[in-house]
């Protein structure tokens, strides 16, 4: 709209200006033309007047022809348009002439004669039609004839001869002629005189003015040499256009600026929204403080953390409401450190207090806040609530403790068991030897030598002591092994889930990659969860330790859980632990499961022995083989529960109880 208007103005304005200029020029021309006409008429009138005065003198008879010549000569000389003045007597003969050459009326052109006759007849002065007399070179002349009467008696004529051309040449000022072409036209519009000092007229500004003389109608036509005004001929219009263009540019620039400003504002708003959303979504608490320690900003996470609203916090000076009383000294010290710029960028742990008084551990990172000039204005702190992490750490620690203690218990039980087994062998042998000897003595009772009588009680005592030692071992064993492993149906996956983080923990320091593959749809196994966990952890620890000297790329531990068979051809779940470590040399393989045999300096040599005992207790087997790609493979199978036979679990338990009363006894207490 504005643009259309501007365009309309821009096109209309020059046009209007042109119109105005044109009409101005036209009016000017008209005025000038009128003025020229007036000038010509005035000059002619003056000449007529002069001639009238002369005629009056003649009519009074006070002027002789000689005097006439004397009076008129300067007149003709001064007025260049006047070619000559002449005095004719009533018959048309020349009385006198300003140039002294008397030419009779009859020698003059017919139109002059006609005009003279007309003047004499009407008693009124009259101009003749332009005509060129014979003696001139075709230059047109007009004559003014003034009839003279003395007492109503016609006494002659006074005539003024004008060169038509000189009417324009001499009577029109040069400055006007400079700008305009001027023509004198007769009634037929034929040009009788023309002046074009400033070149031909352009035909743009013209004016016609009738020069009404008695007996003669001449038309003065002016034709300005000026061309039609150009569209932008003048400075004003140019300035206006330039200003308009400037205005348009300013408008455009302004709109561009506004658009840019809007875009920037939009981006800023978006940025602010983004930041707000980010701040709101953060679980990390953020707070800003100025140099005095006054809180200038808190985010929602921080508010939620300490249980206070932003209004309650902003503008507060230390001590803060979330400071725990017992840690005040620590805060002050920290604040001093921060102010001194000696704080650590790693962050520090401390305790905060919630609105309800509960304490929680936090980890704080501080960073300097600077304004746009780079001046230090305060501190921005991010606060992490690490109570969950602490809890997780404590849980993990407890878990490890529990596992280790149960491992210790299991180990003690197994040591006792192994000791019992190892001691039982020689004790059994002693007992058998003694019993055999006694049997022989009893058999040969008939001979009954006195030596036999001496030997017999001693052998009986030896056998009894061997039996006693066996019983002691058994009771100690039973005492230590308070917790008889309890086998319960459980999915092997739960065992793996428990040990997986611990295996990862074991593997991390050695950069061992752990892969665990569990076949789908495995039946549950009947197992003591803690013991099986210990076996797996023991085997994985051995595997990880065996890989410490191999290149890191080869440090891969793989655990495969799959369906399989036990020795007794029951369905089972096999656990295979494969490493790529140093493997097991043949000489070591022979003694691998022997108690108190270890390849490790600090090893007790019970690990694999216990593992095998545990697995055999579960009715499975622990075997090892050589990994074709280097390293060792340990595999054990645990009997699986056939889900189709639902009674098996109770069967197994009752069997164990029936055959081994000791087991049943401990069972009932667990």
């Amino acid at each position: 709209m504005l643009v259309l208007l501007s365009l309309a103005i821009l096109t209309g304005l020059p046009w209007q200006a042109q119109r105005m200029e044109a009409s101005d020029k036209q009016a000017q021309l008209i005025a000038d033309t009128l003025w020229v006409e007036q000038t010509i008429r005035f000059q002619l009138d003056r000449n007529e007047e002069t001639v009238g005065l002369i005629a009056a003198d003649i009519m009074r008879g006070q002027l002789s022809p000689k005097q006439f010549i004397e009076r008129t000569r300067p007149l003709a000389g001064n007025s260049r348009e006047i070619s000559r003045l002449m005095w004719m007597d009533p018959s048309g003969n020349a009385v006198a002439a300003s140039d002294g050459i008397n030419i009779s009326l009859l020698q003059l052109p017919p139109s002059t004669q006609q005009a003279a006759a007309q003047a004499a007849k009407t008693h009124l002065p009259r101009y003749s039609q332009p005509e060129s007399p014979d003696n001139t070179d075709g230059a047109l002349q007009i004559d003014y004839w003034l009839p003279m009467f003395a007492d109503d008696h016609y006494i002659g004529l006074l005539g003024i001869t004008y060169q038509v051309a000189s009417l324009l040449d001499d009577m029109v000022p040069w400055w006007f002629a400079q700008d305009n072409q001027m023509d004198l036209l007769d009634d037929d519009d034929s040009v009788v005189a023309q002046r074009e000092a400033g070149g031909p007229g352009r035909g743009v500004y013209t004016h016609r003015r009738v020069l009404d003389l008695p007996g003669l109608n001449l038309i003065l036509r002016t034709n300005s040499v000026k061309a039609a005004p150009k569209l932008m001929p003048n400075l004003l219009v140019g300035t206006v256009i330039v200003l308009s263009l400037g205005l348009a540019w300013t408008l455009w620039a302004l709109s561009r600026d506004v658009n840019r400003r809007l875009a920037v504002e939009g981006a800023l708003r978006e940025q602010v929204e983004f930041r707000t959303a980010m701040e709101n979504s953060l679980v990390t608490g953020m707070r800003a403080r100025d140099l005095e320690g006054r809180l200038t900003y808190v985010n929602p996470a921080f508010c939620a953390m300490v249980g206070l609203s932003a209004e309650q916090l902003l503008g507060r000076l230390p001590p803060m409401p979330y400071w725990a009383a017992e840690a005040l000294g620590e805060y002050q010290k920290r604040l001093a450190e921060i102010s001194a710029g000696t704080m650590t960028p790693q962050g520090f742990e401390t305790t905060f207090q919630r609105a309800d008084g509960t304490r929680f551990p936090v980890l704080i990172f501080e960073a300097e806040l600077r304004d746009e000039t780079g001046a230090h204005t305060g501190w921005m702190g991010s606060i992490l609530d690490i109570s969950e992490r602490r809890q997780a750490e404590e849980l993990s620690y407890l878990q490890r403790e529990k596992l280790q203690s149960s491992a210790r218990l299991a180990s003690m039980g197994e040591i006792a068991s192994t000791l019992a087994h190892e001691l039982n062998q020689p004790l059994a042998a002693i007992s058998s030897y003694a019993t055999g000897a006694l049997n022989l003595l009893n058999d040969s009772a008939t001979t009954n030598s006195p030596r036999d009588a001496l030997l017999k009680p001693v052998l009986e005592k030896a056998a009894a002591q061997a039996q006693r030692a066996g019983q002691i071992i058994r009771s100690v064993h039973a005492f230590v092994k308070q917790r008889e492993p309890a086998r319960l149906p459980l999915p092997i996956r739960t065992v793996i889930d428990t040990v997986q983080p611990l295996i990862t923990l074991q593997a991390q320091p050695s950069f061992v990659k752990v892969t665990i593959v569990i076949a789908p749809d495995l039946p549950p196994v009947l197992a003591d969860r803690v013991l099986i966990e210990q076996v797996i952890l023991n085997l994985t620890r051995n595997a990880i330790e065996s890989m410490q000297q191999v290149p890191p790329a080869r440090r891969q531990l793989r655990i495969d859980i799959a369906a399989g068979m036990t020795v007794a051809h029951h369905s089972a779940v096999t656990v295979t632990i494969t490493d790529q470590g140093h493997g097991i040399p043949d000489d070591i393989a022979e003694r691998l499961y022997s108690p108190f045999f270890s390849t490790k300096a600090e090893g007790m040599g019970m690990g694999l022995n216990i593992c095998r005992t545990v697995i055999e207790f579960h009715g499975g087997t622990l075997t090892h083989s050589v990994n074709p790609t280097g390293g060792a493979i340990f595999r054990f199978a645990l009997p699986a529960i056939d889900l189709t036979a639902s009674t098996l679990t109770s069967e197994a338990t009752s069997e164990a109880g029936m055959i081994n009363p000791r087991v049943t006894g401990t069972h009932s207490t667990t």
Binding site: S417, N424, Q425, A429, S432, N439, Q467, I473, V567, A656
Partner: protein, 195 residues
Amino acid sequence: MLHIVDDEEVIRDSLVWLAQSRNIPAVAHASAEDFLSACEQLQFDPGGDCVLLDIRMPQQSGGALFDVMAERKLTDRLPVIFLTGHGDVPMAVDSLKRGAFDFFEKPFNDNKLMDRVEEALASSRKAGESAAVQVRLTNLSAREREVLQLILAGKMNKVIADQLGISMRTVEVHRAHIFDKMNVKTAVELAGLLK
């Protein structure tokens, strides 16, 4: 013959000594593999056989050896008594279910073990005898088997002769052949054998 299978030498030696003190012939094998190779040329003892088997041995375990024996149907003529340490009980129970004679947990009472060994020997002997009787029965002719049935039914020679339509003399010859082939002296002894 008592076969002792144990990886521990002192156990083998003491058990052999113990068995001999009870007048039980005994032989020791250091491993399951040794015993199995001995089984290849094994002559059953008329006095009966028994195997004392340690469950835990380094290579092939007692349990595995028992599985092989059960597969070869040797456990009737070679009853197995397991010797177990602590923790081997479930495997022993499993073996018992599959036909082991008994199991003893260390430390055991030696003479009770020997008593049980003697029972196992008797069981083996009996299994061996019944196996022998079956072999002898297969040596009888069809007519002799008919006569045997009638003798076991307590029929007199004359009644048998009438029933079979043969002479008394022929019956007596058959009877003599039967007694000879079945290795008995009297009809009572024969009845006892085929009871």
